[in-house]
């Protein structure tokens, strides 16, 4: 049933036996898929077809794709309330995701999780999380588990700048460092925690916080997928080879509101700021410009990807709209395993 790319794992840079062109197209496709996915989520919300709210990751595609491309299918990620991008980048199928967002039985979690709790075990996604910082322990525990079971799996913990406020992050970084766990803490600093600029909630120096625990830390431009990929590749390699945890600070931006209903943003940020990011630091533009200017592919290649993705997303939305709701008896199932 899943329209997911069965061969997804072959594309990741960790084990690439494909050409640079193929790989670039794949990354572009993944980023575009996220963008179009989220645009459609917004559409579903504004047309009152989606229950509840969603937090869109438009603008942050390069972080999700750059990091996940450095991972194997059996590596783990944990995600956040703003998690659609991570989920897709790790290999989830658009149709089952839309179905979940609409609360349908064929969704990844049988409609029981919703946007903030999407998980996809098959692609190593241990779940979005509606508690800010709530998945830091889970990601670190998955890394401990990998180490104990003697696999060389790596675990990535995605979180926003806001999660830097939660003490649990420091608790688990301390343990990850002490026990040299294969976990990477990826902080997506999109400048805001809901409606407050991160400088009002975050004292001092973010990477210094990780370094104080003797965790290797780097800060990068999160809008450049090539930079994200190459840095995460290095950190994944470190983790996989037993050199312990690391921290990756990605500077990025969400184009839309905190959630789909956050339309009037003037009281906390300017249109100019939004436009600046959209125009000068858009991950899709940066990457497609690089691809065309380096001669890797041309505009018509991109157009083709675009139309393929467009079709996939349209089909996926339709699939979700047509899918049945869970049966009433589902409500009491899965409380206990």
């Amino acid at each position: 049933m899943a329209n997911k790319d069965e061969n997804n794992s072959q594309f990741n840079s960790a084990e690439k036996d494909i050409t640079e062109k193929e790989h670039s197209i794949h990354m572009f496709r993944q980023m575009l898929k996220i963008r179009k996915f989220e645009e459609n989520v917004n559409q579903l919300y504004t047309s009152a077809k989606m229950p509840g709210l969603s937090h869109l990751s438009i603008g942050q595609e390069a972080v999700a794709v750059g990091v996940c491309e450095a991972l194997r299918n059996d590596d783990y990620i944990t995600s956040t309330h703003r998690g659609h991008g991570h989920c897709l980048a790790k290999g989830a199928a658009t149709n089952l995701m839309f179905a979940e967002l609409l609360g349908k039985a064929s969704g990844y979690c049988r409609g029981k999780g919703g946007s903030m709790h999407i998980a996809d075990q098959d692609s190593g996604n241990l779940g979005a999380n509606a508690i800010v910082g709530g998945s830091a322990g889970i990601a670190t525990g998955a890394a401990l588990s990998a180490k104990m079971r003697g696999t060389d799996q790596v675990s990535v913990c995605f979180f926003g700048d806001g999660a830097l406020g939660q003490g649990i992050i420091y608790e688990v970084m301390n343990m990850a460092s002490l026990w040299s766990l294969p976990v990477i803490y990826v902080c997506e600093n999109n400048l805001y925690t809901e409606y407050t600029h991160y400088t009002e909630t975050t004292a001092g120096d973010i990477t210094a916080r990780a370094k104080a625990f003797h965790i290797h830390a780097e800060e990068i431009e999160g809008q450049d997928v090539r930079q994200v990929l190459s840095t995460s590749g290095k950190l994944v390699q470190r983790a996989r080879s037993g050199q312990g945890p690391s921290f990756l600070l990605c500077n990025t931006y969400r184009y839309f509101g905190h959630h789909v209903g956050d339309i009037n943003r003037a009281y906390y940020r300017t249109k100019d700021e939004e436009n600046d990011w959209k125009t000068n630091r858009d991950p899709l533009i940066i990457f497609s410009n690089w691809m065309t200017s380096s001669g890797l592919l041309n505009d018509s290649d991109l157009d083709q990807v675009e139309s393929e993705v467009q079709t996939e997303i349209e089909d996926a939305v339709q699939f979700a709209l047509d899918a049945p709701y869970p049966k009433p008896e589902e409500v009491k199932k899965h409380v206990y395993a």
Partner: protein, 331 residues
């Protein structure tokens, strides 16, 4: 309810007004929490306060529920009266040490010397399609802890009057507001009135059965009472308003009068607030009950996202009516 003025405002406005009035009255009152200032919280309940009182008294905090609740405790111990804003009741999980091991016990442990006049404002209630981590009603946890008071306003009028009492109280008080009630409207006098804790409100008198509802379940009980009236069953509806302290006397007296009781609360069914209330009544009205005291809580499942499932988990008037009819038919 005093009728000093007929002024219809929302629950949210009533909360806002109580805070503004108390902040004007008493300089030591301040608000701390996530996005409480310019944003006025995601529910916009605090809109306008930062404009009047400034960012020194309406503090936007980092996402550090444990830390800023602890800061509230320390501030309360040293002369301030903080109102700590916990955005969703589900996040109370993160604050439990500071509220339960610190705030609730400091007065007692210090032999009565230190005080913690702190209010924690948070919420409860499902039905917003927010998923399992943003929909819980965890108020029974706090009700279980000596040293805390637990308040569940059900109307705009109560929201204002109870919040004022909470702010003036010298003890830690936790207020749970139902997220679904913020737009509810009701008469709220412009007066400065405070509603005492531990006094239940008889919302509607009746003779055949007592429906005890908390928070938004009061509305469900009233709806059910209307439907039951059509079947010639006269239901008394009572709102305890505070579950700690609990107005046992009023509840038991009503049970003795009607001889049948249903308790409705949106916490999970098992080990919830309904269990205590039902036990108190089953004991206190033992020789007068014609039928067992019944309880309706949220279904014992993590709250599902899908609307078709979520709606099955929350008590509704239909369930109350069915149960009431059965109880009244029995005996």
């Amino acid at each position: 309810m005093p009728e000093s003025s007929e002024r219809i405002i929302t629950f949210s406005q009533a909360v806002n007004e109580a805070l503004a009035e108390e902040m004007r009255r008493e300089k030591t009152v301040f608000i701390i929490g996530e996005d409480v200032a310019e944003a006025g919280t995601p529910f916009k309940v605090l809109s306008g306060l930062v404009e009047e009182f400034g960012t020194e008294r309406v503090l936007d905090s980092p996402i550090s529920e444990s830390g800023f609740t602890g800061i509230g405790v320390g501030a309360a111990m040293t002369g301030m009266r903080p109102v700590v804003d916990i955005m969703f009741g589900d996040f109370m999980t993160i604050t439990m040490d500071q509220i339960v091991n610190q705030a609730a016990k400091i007065h007692y442990m210090s032999g009565g010397k230190l005080k913690v006049p702190m209010v924690v404002r948070t919420n409860l209630g499902a039905s917003r399609r927010s998923g399992a981590q943003h929909s819980q009603s965890l108020h029974v946890w706090l009700s279980h802890i000596p040293g805390l008071k637990v308040v569940l306003p059900s109307t705009p009028y109560d929201a204002k009057g109870l919040l004022k009492t909470a702010i003036r109280d010298d003890n830690p008080v936790v207020i749970f507001e139902d997220k679904m009630m913020f737009q509810d409207k009701g008469n709220v006098p412009e007066d400065d009135y405070a509603i005492p804790f531990g006094v239940a409100d008889i919302k509607k008198e009746g003779t055949d059965i007592t429906l005890i509802g908390t928070s938004s379940m009061v509305q469900i009980a009233l709806e059910a009472a209307d439907l039951l009236a059509e079947k010639d069953i006269s239901a008394e509806v009572i709102d305890p308003r505070t579950v700690m302290p609990l107005d046992k006397k009023t509840l038991i007296e009503s049970a003795i009068k009607t001889s049948r009781v249903i308790v409705i609360d949106e916490g999970y069914d098992s080990y919830g607030v309904t269990a205590e209330i039902a036990s108190v009544i089953a004991e206190g009205a033992f020789y007068h009950l014609e039928a067992p005291v019944k309880r309706i809580g949220a279904m014992d499942v993590p709250i599902p996202f899908s609307p078709v499932l979520e709606d099955l988990t929350v008590p509704n008037a239909g369930m109350v009516v069915e149960m009431a009819k059965t109880l009244c038919a029995a005996a």
